[in-house]
Symmetry: C2
Subunit: 272 residues, 2 copies
């Protein structure tokens, strides 16, 4: 009896999602779409954002602190909604927290890439730390015989956070970083940073709509849904799930930019 | 006798300089030029860089930690070689450390602005936090009857750190942020961020070489020299001063980009 009661309670626990800042909200949004009944807790480590230019050692340390915070909030699973943290710290987090289900954003997109036909030349774009970690490159080449072209695009994050997503400056930056991938005639492009979905249109336009663009937020949300169901830990409630947002710096700044990402008002942001 | 000996030792203590990351190296470089015999200790808080998008509260907290670190290293004076930290935290630091000489980068440039003739329209550019703090605007308007036009330019820091300082993308970004100041016909422009001296040429070109451009690194170094002399705490040695660099994240990343700023090789970087 007691065991059964405990299990019910476990299923109703929230899903914890963390990112260095606001980028992970694109993952949050996709999770909310496919899992409307789950309670969601989002942590944005805005006092230490960005992770993408920092070393793997520092990112591991920050990621561990973030997971501990989410565990204290009683989450049943943690989604590392940040490509940089997934690239640099996912193995480390699995070691630190062997009993916790932890899902990164790299594996789901790669697993879906593998299933596709006619993939010959794959482009990957992300932060400097994500690209230099070779996490995507390794994961892909383990399973596929394809050519991989990786490019870090450090200006994309500030462009997105500034809201400069539809301006000649945006196209100039897209051309600056992606001209090599265009010349290489990639057929598939992985947006390996949670900010980049906001640049989907200019990127798609730049490649003449001829390149298949894969976004880790989309695949991660669907993978999460599958895992919760397989492990029988989904929340079976029919009510809308609750949402809480935590940030390590000013709630106001997060709210302002966060609404661009979430495409709806952001309320109840708590500073920790 | 003992007192005199103590004083000599004090004068030989290093000057402490801190910044959120590498930008403060432009200040370091100017200080080295005018004070070749002083020992210099530089601290780049690269694990938490950038400060420019973070809240004043967080910046105060980080700045206090940085000053404590430099005090432990035995410095005789601290230069806050970061406009954002100077804007957000200088008063707080003076409160925390009443017996320590602490110099920011805002006051020296404003004091020199006041002495100039024919200043009518002043432009100030900097990070979001610097501009929103109104620190420059207040300091100027306290002493002068001029029009002030302030603009934050969040893409300038990543452009500089990426080394994109002479590219069509640079000019596009300069135009994006500075077209308002150009239309306002400013006669003087303050580069209110330690990264911006690396964009001096495109900015000067953009304004058709008709705008007086003031750089806080230059004035801060000269003010520091004056203060050390006035207070009789300059190092009277005739040997070249020693240099130590400390960073809170990877030394290697700091070295690579830091050399762009310092325009010479960077050695002996220590991770703390």
């Amino acid at each position: 009896m007691i065991k059964q009661k405990k299990e019910v309670v476990f299923n109703e626990r929230p899903i914890g999602i963390f990112d260095s800042g606001i980028g992970g909200l694109t993952v949050f949004k996709e999770i909310r779409k496919v899992l409307p009944h789950e309670h969601l807790i989002y942590l944005g480590d805005t006092a230490r954002v960005p992770y993408g230019t920092k070393s793997p050692e520092v990112i591991k340390q920050y990621s561990e602190i973030n997971v501990r915070f989410l565990i204290e909030k009683g989450v049943k699973v943690v989604v590392v909604a940040c490509n940089t943290a997934s690239a640099a710290a996912i193995a480390y987090l699995h070691e630190c927290f062997p009993d916790l289900l932890i899902l990164g954003v790299i594996q789901p997109v790669v697993e879906n890439l593998i299933k596709l036909d006619q993939v010959k030349k794959v482009g990957i774009i992300g932060t400097a730390t994500t690209i230099h970690s070779n996490a995507y490159q390794r994961a892909i080449l383990e399973h596929m015989r394809v050519e991989v072209f990786a490019q870090h695009c450090p200006l994309f994050v500030p462009l997105v956070e500034e809201g400069i997503v539809d301006h000649p400056l945006t196209m100039q930056a897209v051309d600056y970083y992606l001209s090599g991938l265009k010349r290489a005639e990639i057929d598939t492009l992985i947006l390996g940073c949670t900010h980049y979905p906001l640049l989907l249109r200019p990127i798609d336009y730049y490649f003449g709509h001829r390149v298949r663009i894969m976004d880790s937020a989309y695949y991660t949300a669907r993978e999460l849904k599958k895992i919760l169901s397989e492990r029988h830990v989904a929340n079976e409630s029919h009510k809308s799930g609750e949402e809480r947002f935590f940030v390590t710096d000013s709630a106001e700044t997060f709210r302002r930019t966060g609404e661009l990402f979430l495409e709806r008002p952001l309320v109840a942001i708590e500073h920790v």
